[in-house]
């Protein structure tokens, strides 16, 4: 197990380095003069030169990269030119919101998707199965922002049960916080649920054909035990993989949902940074999100090994 962990960690490092390189290149190699953008109409040749020197823009590219990298490893991701906040401060404020949203959405998608998938697999071909599979397929063609509009229309405009926008931190008012989070989380969950359900259902149908299920039946075990222990456990591997792959989509979806529902999360921070051309924030956030994403995938890999003993022992 330790060997497995070490190998995975070793793979992680070059990927992170590559990610940092890519982020840095986007910022530095694309057209547009950073100093000019910042100073805009206050730009004079002296100001520009001074700012460039101050920001280190006059140094060669590779030197700037290492300076940047050095700062980052010390925890200095830069300071926004607009708000004066450091990137880390901004992130610390926004991260909990995004994480809460993604967590609620993922839990919702799993809580709905897993039981449905199991029932569909157990009664595959039946009316419930066909209805659910059809719905899942149709939902896959509904973009996140569309479901958001639909849900807002239904619950906020027509029924007036839930608010369309707004946010209050959990620590201040837990109930209020959840009230604001319901629609956004539901929107995201609707986007995640079909993928989970289809994959798990498909995998379970395949698993249910296996010999060991036939033996489990021949042993006289209850259908519940066969479904939830014998069939679900091997199929859960694919579920974990899919959840891992989904995280990228989840982050993207969270971005849209935060913007639509005006939640003060990382997504909105990013969109705001783009609209106001706040490049420092942009660079820092992109890097941290990408790095976080890579690490999440790493954790998913670990989970995989925990669930499938064959991988742990080097078989598979």
């Amino acid at each position: 197990m330790a060997f497995f962990l070490a190998r995975r960690l070793l793979y992680l490092v070059p990927v992170l380095i590559a990610v940092s390189l890519l982020t840095f290149s986007i910022a530095s190699l694309l057209p547009g003069d950073l100093a000019m953008t910042i100073l805009a109409d206050q730009a004079t040749p002296e100001n520009l030169a001074a700012l460039r020197k101050d920001m280190g823009l006059d140094q060669p590219l590779w030197q700037r990269y290492f300076t940047w990298l050095g700062h980052m490893l010390q925890g200095d991701f830069g300071r926004s030119f607009r708000t004066g906040q450091t990137v880390l401060q901004a992130l610390a404020e926004r991260l909990p919101v995004s994480i809460e949203l993604m967590l609620l959405a993922q839990i919702g998608a799993l809580a709905f998707g897993v039981p449905v998938a199991i029932i569909c697999a157990a009664r595959s071909g039946g009316p419930f199965d066909r209805f659910m599979t059809g719905s899942a397929f149709a939902l896959l063609s509904v973009p996140t922002f569309l479901s958001a509009i639909l849900l807002i229309y239904l619950f906020a405009v027509e029924l007036r049960w839930l608010p369309a926008t707004g946010y209050v931190p959990f620590t201040e008012d837990p109930l209020g916080n959840l009230r604001f989070m319901v629609l956004p989380a539901m929107t995201l969950a609707l986007a995640e649920w079909p993928g989970i359900m289809r994959i798990l259902r498909s995998d379970m149908i395949a698993t249910l054909q296996e010999d060991f299920i036939a033996l489990a039946k021949a042993k006289g075990l209850t259908p519940a035990r066969i479904l939830f222990v014998h069939a679900l456990k091997p199929s859960s591997l694919t579920l974990v993989t899919i959840t891992g792959i989904n995280i990228g989509r989840l982050i993207g979806g969270a971005l849209i949902v935060e913007t639509i529902f005006a939640l003060p999360g990382i997504g909105r921070l990013l969109v705001g940074a783009i609209l106001t051309r706040d490049l420092v924030i942009l660079q820092g956030v992109v890097l941290l999100v990408a790095a976080g994403f890579v690490i999440m995938n790493f954790i998913v890999d670990l989970l995989y090994a925990v669930l499938d003993p064959r991988i742990r022992h080097g078989h598979a």
Partner: protein, 290 residues
């Protein structure tokens, strides 16, 4: 929100082709809609519809009528013609971006699957790095730096699709290179180029096309989402996404302004998904359907 990340894990467990019901009524309905959408978009300028940019402040948010079949929007512009011109943009980006993925990704996949070795591993590794980014973040970051335009949007969306197409092409090539017809060609002394072009390419193209259709669906969704946020197609050009965003303002008084483009987008994406999914089930070489 969906992005071109259809991983091999999903492919491996996708449902086998339903033997009896391959091309059912839904499939043909989807084809009909696709043709309809294309026809309308291509011949938009020839259709007897009002100018989509012509505003009429006296008839804002007008209901359905003889002069305006689908009513008018918040600035008095004809909704039907806006839908049609929106289709042009969405379909344009939706088709061109995956083209990039198909050609570049397909070529890379074919080469890396056939030659294997270090070059193959390197390409796969490079793609993995690209995939290490949450896609939407990357799109936004690049657009922020290069600026909004239809060309930039199409280009970046296309590039983002390359890893996915590459994986499909590579997987198919790997499966097929072990089949007898390739080994036979090698035994007959065929050159690499000949094997790649004559034997492998025609067989790899089919699953790639199926994937392409799915890619179109995804691209329309991504473009729509970006335009909805105001970060996609730049104004004054409008695509379905920006129309939906505008419609959001009037959800309480005229919800149709949001829902009409929403339905159009949904039907189009659904059609591409249906056709692409059916084609994928039919052409997956691992299931021996070829």
């Amino acid at each position: 929100m969906a992005t071109l990340e259809l991983d091999l894990a999903e492919e491996a467990v996708s449902q086998p082709a339903k033997k009896g019901k391959r091309l059912g009524i839904l499939f043909w309905a989807a084809i009909v809609w696709m043709i309809f959408a294309f026809a309308v978009a291509i011949f938009a300028t020839l259709l007897p519809i009002p100018d989509p940019a012509a505003m009429n402040m006296l008839a804002r948010r007008a209901p359905f009528s003889a002069t305006h079949w689908l009513g008018t929007d918040g600035l008095g512009r004809d909704e039907l013609s806006r839908l049609i011109y929106g289709a042009r943009i969405s379909l344009l980006v939706g088709l061109c971006a995956p083209m990039i993925g198909l050609t570049v990704g397909g070529a890379l996949g074919l080469l890396s699957g056939y030659f294997r070795g270090r070059a193959g591993t390197f390409i796969v590794g490079a793609m993995d790095v690209l995939l290490a980014f949450p896609p939407l973040i990357l799109v936004l970051a690049v657009i922020a730096f290069v600026g909004q335009s239809i060309l930039n949007l199409t280009f970046i969306l296309g590039v983002l699709g390359i890893p996915a197409f590459m994986r499909v092409a590579r997987a198919t090539t790997l499966t097929l290179s072990r089949r007898e017809f390739v080994i036979a060609a090698e035994a007959l002394g065929a050159s690499h180029a000949r094997i790649l072009l004559r034997e492998l390419l025609p067989n790899v193209i089919l699953p790639l096309l199926a994937f392409f259709l799915l890619g179109v669906a995804v691209t329309i969704v991504v473009e729509g989402s970006l335009s909805f946020l105001g970060l996609g197609v730049p104004p004054p050009t409008s695509s379905w996404g920006s129309m939906i965003a505008e419609g959001r303002e009037s959800l309480d008084v005229a919800p149709r302004l949001a829902f009409l483009p929403a339905i159009a987008m949904f039907l189009t994406v659904l059609s591409f998904n249906l056709v692409g999914d059916t084609m994928r089930a039919l052409t997956d070489p691992r299931q021996g359907a070829l």
